[in-house]
Symmetry: C2
Subunit: 326 residues, 2 copies
DNA sequence: CTGTTAGCGCATTCAT
DNA sequence: ATGAATGCGCTAACAG
């Protein structure tokens, strides 16, 4: 910076001003400095600035398995939004969602002095972890449940599940079975809630939910059993991979979809339109959730207080895996 | 830090040593310092350390669309490996893989003084971008082509494609058609190369490759056309989503897989085993690639010179979408 | 093994 | 509108 100042014939201070508050410097001086910056290829030292301002310009994201479609898309949304606000995003991925591992991930990020952290941890045990966070670090949760002590951005799972269920009911099905995710996942319980309330509202019988583990394999295994039950004419599966497994199991057992059984999934992964048959499913706008989470975090960093919940509405995408009950 | 030093009755320097080179401090002193650190909840200031050491402990990853299975998995592998070496990973995702956008991503990362950058950009235009990188920044490329001027970690695409092709040939098919990715993607051209050479080695006719865009939709569209040609009994598709589209198109047209047409994909996404029929495909170990890339980068940061290529062998996973020619 | 001195590159404060 | 002095928190180099 001294060099730049020298070349431009000003003091280091002026260079600093040009970079941080250009309007406080006379245009001609500014131009000279900028030219010098260009010529010398000067790059501000981030660590030094951070040392004196106390802010790093880096945000952290703690997440489990960023390989899954949901977390990956959310992360992508966060990163895109962060870029627009001139923030960089660092990631800490977790092996498990225990209170300890969450604390550890946050700690790792914090030791690099991130300005705030977004936690993607749609699991009950995460809520516990969120309660024991350092108070002096702005934190936002993505997909968190009700009792979470920090701002939350999430897709309205219950609403999406209700849409799916009502769609099936409107097709004349007596009731709707549910292949759910593991019970201690926030998303899973939200979807169960929405499904159940939609059935209740219509006075339908409420079957016991079948519990899968999100994988296509678990959908397949449950599907093999369901195929034997002629009562089952409509199934709402809690995500698209399970729907895929379900689809295959039913077909192998000689059931036709949607003629014999209608199926609705959840997520709308890019491939869902090319399942066989094309899958009716509930689309989650993860990018939007990521953007909302970032905004919430920026607010927090800016000193805005209070617990906020930003809910994003999911959307039912009707394709060919659902049909009128016969 | 002064406070810690005071409480432990030592100088600030000793505290610093305890944190960075514990073996250079007498155990009892060390214990006292550690206790003081605990009690005061002291956290080293990262920016200050970085300012004086010149290293930040942060690595950058530049990638396009971390939503796709390949990049997401690679990123995950990198992050996991980085954690073991006490590095944090920051990401810069790109909208497009032009020379400009790559330079911009690297620049964004560099302005936050990352110690090195890994570029996931399996696209030809990226090679151009890689040639114009700052010389003073350690860079490693994932999935890059031959002429790339930096160390590269990648799956051996040609080898995987050859395996897939030979598998089909060994099943008695006269030749193998290829549904490729866009020509300017490194992976796509590597797979074309491997497929072609395997056909040549057996003296088979080499059909013109059909060019898709990686999406299930493009697989579907090409599939509709291919279904009319009775000559086509074996297809090697350049990734799993295209295979999915292909599968559906063929079936809709009344062709059976694998009885009428055999299909091999590439990637082995988690759902591939639940396609209908379960997809024979080539598994890429992205985690391994990520780990290798990180190691390469660490070497570079450590001053190791030279262009290195670390190739990871893919593996053929035989399932039920391929069968003997009838 | 431990302490002292110095300075990393920048922004804040107070002058001019 | 610009400059000079000061210190952010830490570690490298040297001294003891």
């Amino acid at each position: 910076m001294e060099d730049v100042a020298g070349l431009a014939g000003v003091s280091a201070m002026t260079v600093s001003r040009v970079l941080n508050a250009p309007e406080k410097v006379r245009p001609e001086t500014r131009a000279r400095v900028l030219a010098a910056v260009q010529e010398l290829g000067y790059r501000p030292n981030f660590a030094a600035r951070s040392l004196v301002t106390g802010r790093s310009g880096v945000l952290g994201v703690v997440s489990m398995d960023t390989t899954l479609y949901g977390p990956a898309s959310t992360l992508y949304g966060i990163e895109r939004a962060a870029r627009q606000h001139d923030y960089l995003v660092s990631i800490a991925s977790l092996q498990a969602l225990t209170r300890r591992s969450i604390a550890e991930g946050v700690e790792r990020l914090r030791s690099q002095s991130v300005d705030g952290v977004i936690i993607i941890a749609p699991h009950e045990s995460a809520a516990e972890g969120l309660r024991h966070l350092p108070k002096d670090l702005p934190v936002v949760d993505v997909g968190g449940g009700e009792g979470v002590p920090v701002p939350v951005a999430a897709v309205d799972q219950a609403s999406g599940a209700a849409r799916a269920t009502r769609h099936l009911l409107s097709l004349g099905h007596r009731t709707v079975w549910h292949l759910s995710g593991p019970a201690n996942w926030i998303d899973a319980s939200g979807r169960i809630r929405g499904w159940r309330s939609a059935l209740e509202a219509e006075g339908c019988e409420i079957p016991e939910p079948l519990v899968g583990d999100w994988s296509a394999q678990s959908g397949y295994e449950h599907g093999r059993r369901m195929a034997h039950d002629p009562e089952i004419t409509a199934v709402f599966a809690a995500n698209d991979p399970m729907s895929l497994g379900l689809l295959r199991a039913l077909r192998e057992a000689g059931k036709r979809v949607p003629e014999d059984v209608s199926i609705v999934g959840f997520d709308d992964v890019p491939e869902a339109a090319y399942f066989w048959p094309p899958l009716t499913t509930v689309r989650q706008n993860f990018g939007e959730v990521g953007g909302q989470a970032l905004q919430l975090l920026l607010d927090r960093i800016g000193g805005v207080e209070g617990d906020v919940r930003r809910m994003v509405e999911p959307e039912l995408v009707v394709r060919e895996s659902t049909a009128q009950r016969r």
